[in-house]
């Protein structure tokens, strides 16, 4: 089962937002040129690309100054069914 890396997520978010830099360890709320609609646009693309991962907008639930793309990646990994 294909599971994206955190670097993959950063590249995808950079592509949809047009942001010059997306640092996986920066607070999502602080990344220049990335807003909540960019995150939704990224999420739509993610859902299309990885339909086997049940990701939805709850990935960004309770987003605050500590929420990074790495945080989101961790939440995605938690959604992936365990491989036997």
């Amino acid at each position: 089962m294909e599971i994206p890396t955190v670097e993959d997520l950063a590249t995808q978010l950079q592509a949809v937002s047009g942001a010059k830099v997306v640092d996986a360890d920066a607070a999502l709320q602080r990344i220049a040129d990335v807003d909540s609609l960019d995150l939704m646009e990224w999420l739509y693309g993610f859902q299309e690309q990885y339909p086997h991962i049940p990701a939805d907008e709850s990935l960004f639930k309770d987003m605050d100054e500590t929420t990074t793309l790495r945080t989101v990646h961790g939440r995605i990994l938690a959604l992936v069914p365990q491989q036997v």
């Binding site: 807003d35 909540s36 609609l37 939704m40 646009e41 739509y44 939805d56 907008e57």
Partner: protein, 328 residues
């Protein structure tokens, strides 16, 4: 079975303008933030005395004049609105009276998909009864928004748009798709004022008669359902996205529109939009954009015109028209 032709069109918006500069001041943000967020620089807002029905009457009258008809020629009136004149009777009753409509009348509430739903209803109606139908989309959502709700205040504008359908042996409607998902009722709603939560002093005090939006959910679902609907309409119409001459979507938010176009492959230059000047006028947005495009001479016989709407509920719909009709 009879087809329909769109032979009249018209629009009406209030004179009062609310700019993004004013809203930026109110909310303590930059105008650029608002424009980058939704693509809207100004919207028209009703003044006291202007209502959903009064705008609908103006738009309807202009559409009738364009078609060379009067209310006496109209067999049925459909008013699409989610912001009715009053809870009862239907807004169409008020419009029916003012326009001296000879035939029957009813409202359609499919939120911002209302005009597309109304047009499909009219098309089906005319297959049974080939006489002229007037379809109007009219909304005054500025009256349902908490002035301190930034997410909705920056979006909404008021207005009405109308079309007259007359019978023709030619086929204008090439393909269509309508859909709904009632699991999404919480994404955009006015909680109070209906049977689920009747109006009380408490609901008024608590602001429960104002619309509330979960913007992220709406964005995701609007894109998802619109993309699906447009793909189905194109497939059943045996057309590729690149073959569409004009795309007239619900003017909700330029970010949503751009996303839908990107994911469906619709060429950006085919977009008809006036979002920057009128904001999101809900059921009125498609017929207002269509009217402006027609009055500007942008649409000609033989063009392929794709209409698309999506709204709270959620509801969605798309229609592919062969403008001028095709004789089969």
């Amino acid at each position: 079975m009879s087809g329909f032709a769109l032979t009249g069109w018209g629009m009406a918006v209030p004179d009062q303008v609310r700019t993004s500069v004013e809203l930026a001041d109110h909310f303590g943000v930059d105008e650029d933030w608002i424009v980058s967020r939704c693509g809207i620089r100004e919207r028209r807002i009703v003044a006291p005395g202007e209502t959903t029905a009064s705008l609908a009457v103006l738009a309807g009258r202009r559409a009738l004049e364009k078609a060379g008809l009067t209310g006496a020629d109209i067999a049925h009136l459909i008013v699409a609105t989610a912001t009715p004149e009053q809870p009862s009777p239907a807004t169409s009753a008020f419009v029916h009276h003012e326009l001296d409509i000879a035939g029957s009348a009813h409202d359609v509430n499919a939120e911002c998909s209302g005009f597309v739903y109304g047009l499909m209803t009219a098309a089906a109606w005319m297959a049974l009864d080939p006489r002229p139908v007037l379809v109007i989309g009219s909304d005054t959502h500025s009256l349902t928004v908490d002035p301190d709700d930034r997410d909705l205040s920056i979006l909404v504008g008021d207005g009405a748009g109308a079309v007259v359908l007359t019978p023709t042996p030619a086929t204008w409607l090439r393909s269509w798709n309508l859909g709904a998902d009632g699991a999404c009722t919480g994404s955009l709603k006015v909680p109070a004022g209906g049977s689920r939560m009747p109006t009380t002093e408490q609901t008024v005090r608590d602001g429960l008669h104002f619309a509330r939006i979960k913007g992220n959910e709406i964005y995701l679902n609007a894109v998802r359902f619109s993309v699906r609907s447009i793909r189905e309409t194109l497939a059943s119409g045996k057309r590729e996205a690149g073959e569409i001459d004009h795309f007239v979507p619900h003017q909700a938010n330029i970010r949503i529109i751009n996303s839908i176009m990107s994911h469906t492959g619709l060429p950006p230059e085919r977009l008809i939009t006036n979002l920057e000047r009128f904001g999101n006028t809900a059921s009125a947005s498609v017929p207002i954009a269509l009217t402006e495009a027609l009055d500007a001479g942008r649409i000609s016989d033989g063009d392929r015109v794709l209409l698309a709407g999506f709204g709270a509920g959620m509801t969605w719909g798309s229609m592919l028209l062969d403008w001028g009709g095709v004789t089969r």
